[in-house]
Symmetry: C2
Subunit: 178 residues, 2 copies
């Protein structure tokens, strides 16, 4: 997973992947069918271990403001904590290969939609006790900001600068909902 994240899909060689996973070549083909299958498995693992905790911040446990702040703090941390793996496997690597590979494009759409659903769910929880608004579009915007933050981290941006962006987004959400 980290090799794909750091180097990209095409630049990640089977040799390198075997070494990094400690898995023999024959087993890789037997278990995953090839490079494509291994990549999809890496993404599933990334979603479970990295995106999962980020999205869990969206469980209603405090005010919307506090939950979104926690969510974005985790987004920024995920994107910047390890200089070897800047940004996001999905937004930076899967997105590139999605251009010419339909399997990957569908996977990208699926993963993006899942995050937006999660955000919209949290917003719906707030709206149920508030004003009528288009939570789906707001969720789309918050997801877009998250991805923009991931990309900015890939270019070398510091966490404190990304935190500022996140704060604007959280503020905007509060205003949109109220």
């Amino acid at each position: 997973m980290r090799v794909f994240w750091a180097d990209g899909y095409d630049a990640a060689s089977i040799d390198r992947l075997c070494r990094a996973t400690g898995m023999p070549r024959a087993s890789l083909y037997q278990d995953f069918g090839g490079k494509e299958g291994l990549f999809l498995a890496a993404i599933a693992h990334y979603v479970e271990t990295r995106i999962g905790p980020v999205a869990d911040a969206l469980e209603p446990s405090g005010s919307l403001d506090a939950d979104l702040s926690t969510y974005f703090a985790r987004v920024v941390a995920l994107a910047t904590d390890d200089s070897q793996t800047p940004g996001c496997l999905i937004s930076c690597v899967l997105a590139e290969v999605a251009g010419a590979n339909d399997t990957f494009r569908l996977e990208l759409d699926r993963r993006f939609t899942a995050l937006e659903d999660r955000i919209a769910q949290r917003l719906d929880h707030e709206v149920a006790s508030g004003a009528v608004t288009d939570t789906r579009a707001l969720a789309g915007m918050l997801a877009a900001v998250s991805r923009g933050i991931m990309l900015r981290a890939r270019s070398g941006a510091q966490a404190q600068d990304l935190d500022k962006i996140a704060r604007v987004a959280v503020r905007a959400s509060a205003r949109e909902i109220v």
Copy 2:
């Protein structure tokens, strides 16, 4: 340029690039020094011909709301108008290779910063006659939304859905500035 945009950096072969540009192999090496140089030239051309017109919408010519709406309409159009080249050369292709190549990472940082500067400039123009606010962070957020929209387009999203996201972002900006 379109080959890199559609296929990605590593998947774009020199053969394919020569055919697409109508340029003989020897000339490509003579003029650009190699694949890396050609890619950077393609990015410069993309910035001039595609990002340029988008950013020009930020010249103060109407209300901030109107200018940002025009800007985002162009972002969405750039990202979705041609199904062969979905998304953005910079946010989808350059960002991927930036992970393991410092030249590309610096270029990504440069291009991202340039767009943020442009947006901040437009916001400063508005603030000069209004309230005090952190235009840099707001510009960062608007740029992040733009990139998020580009990525969402790469996954196959339709323009009308992306327009909704843009509208939320424009509304948020108006509120932040006033």
